[in-house]
């Protein structure tokens, strides 16, 4: 149903502030609808699997390359500082903590915000402006469940898996550099690397992956769902999806780190 007629003609406080609160309200309504539709059977399994393939499998090459380079470069950059104190043996442990606690979730989610978020925003916006979403609605198909729920669930499920994968690949990148310089064996490297990693670290990272995945999915879908103004609206939806997702991810990172540190 439309909401266009419900908008007040004169602003209550100021146009900008009014729009901010109206946007905030509609985002909460959107999230509320997501949970309502997601919990109501049946789940669109086929479309969910297709979206998992698009979000997860199609991002693997980029994630592999970025994760590997991140691990390799971070090791290279950290070595000089540690070698000043003769502490290069701490490298595996230092890299593991940095990768597991911060780099893997952040790198993965920022890449996915750019690749997946923009793609979801643009795809839904293009469907919206070409009336494909309306076409689903009038064919007695629930477009929200078919398009939004499946995409948000796919990002929420796949991004934590990608985070773990990035962490592993980054550690392999780090191992390569350490092996080339210190000739440390694979077993020793990983024993040293993970001796300081706790269950809380893994738990927090997985939770970050879930929260960032949900954020990327919901922001992309929301921007696409409310797109207007033809092709211009498609570009805007893709752009805002990326910017808003990245901003929210950094904001969430700060909050999650604060909460996690209170348990240490």
């Amino acid at each position: 149903m439309d909401s266009s007629s419900g908008q007040p003609e004169k602003p209550v406080v100021s146009r900008g502030l009014d729009n901010f609160f109206l946007d905030l309200y509609s985002i909460f309504q959107f999230i509320k609808r997501f949970f309502k539709e997601a919990l109501r059977p049946p789940l669109e399994v086929k479309e969910f699997i297709r979206q998992c393939y698009m979000v997860g499998y199609k991002s693997l090459a980029l994630i592999t390359m970025t994760g590997f380079i991140t691990g390799l470069v971070f090791t290279k950059q950290s070595r000089p500082s540690l070698s000043e104190f003769g502490a290069t043996s701490w490298l595996p442990s230092l890299i593991a903590i940095a990768v597991v606690r911060a780099l893997a979730p952040l790198v993965t989610s920022l890449i996915c915000a750019g690749k997946v978020g923009s793609s979801i925003g643009a795809e839904l916006a293009s469907m919206k402006v070409t009336e494909q979403i309306d076409a689903m609605e009038v064919s007695a198909i629930n477009p929200f469940k078919y398009l939004v729920v499946t995409r948000v669930m796919a990002t929420t499920v796949c991004i934590p898996i990608l985070v773990c994968y990035t962490g592993l690949v980054a550690m392999l990148g780090s191992f390569l550099d350490i092996y080339m310089n210190e000739h440390t064996s694979f077993t020793t490297f990983f024993q040293n690397a993970f001796k300081n990693i706790t269950f809380l670290d893994f738990g927090t990272t997985t939770m970050k992956g879930i929260i960032y995945g949900f954020t990327i999915g919901i922001v992309g879908c929301y921007q696409g769902w409310r797109a207007s103004q033809g092709t211009q609206g498609v570009g805007k939806a893709a752009n805002v999806s990326v910017v808003a997702s990245m901003f929210l991810i950094f904001l969430e990172e700060v909050v999650i780190v604060q909460v996690a540190n209170s348990f240490r």
């Binding site: 009336e131 309306d134 076409a135 609605e137 064919s139 007695a140 198909i141």
Partner: protein, 257 residues
Amino acid sequence: MKNFKPNIDWQDKVIKVHDLFKSFGSNHVLRGISLDVHKGENIVVLGRSGTGKSVLIKIMVGLLSPDSGGVNVLGQEVATLSNLELRELRLKVGFCFQNGALYDSMTVGENLEFPLKRNTPGITRAEVKRMVETVLDAVGLSKTVNQMPSELSGGQRKRIGIARTLILRPDIMLYDEPTAGLDPITCTEINNLINEVQHRFNTTSIIITHDLACAKAVGDTIVVMKEGRFIKRGPFNEVFQSDDELIREFYDYNFIQ
């Protein structure tokens, strides 16, 4: 012109629009319109762009909600229906969008199968295939089944859009600008198709257009819309005998030019 006599039941009103108002902010699009559509009738709603023609049919399928007044379709007041009731009503009302609104990521065959499979639980693959072939045959595009929408011409997209609607066997067809942006020969083909759908599937139709040739070819009744109101209703020849400035302008533009 039609080469068959439409089977119209003048006693049975399948759509009743009563005192319908709709505004978007300060833009008053519909200003109290009323309309009855009889079973088997093809009604053409004529009017300039922005007069609220598409808004009218979008209200009929619940894509928009009216500010006041209402639309009764097949005995049900659309604005008061629950989601489930609206879903059931939509199965009986086909909506053909201006540009076809085909799903870009699916082939023509998948576009047709999609609403059918979703709304017919337990349907067999053989039945789906047969129904897809039947509707593609009805719109004369049997060979496009494996093509993507991007490979089709504008006229073909509209035909597939009509086929996708027909596959659910609706009682009512709503066409939004079916001939807009097409060459005259393709327009004639679409007009013939609309008539064939009325004849073969015994549907009631509302056709939104500003193309007079289309109105003349497919309309049993013409209603002319101006500034959110109906200003004239009747058969084509009767309506265009009017001295109203807009109607004269329409006629002169379409037929003299």
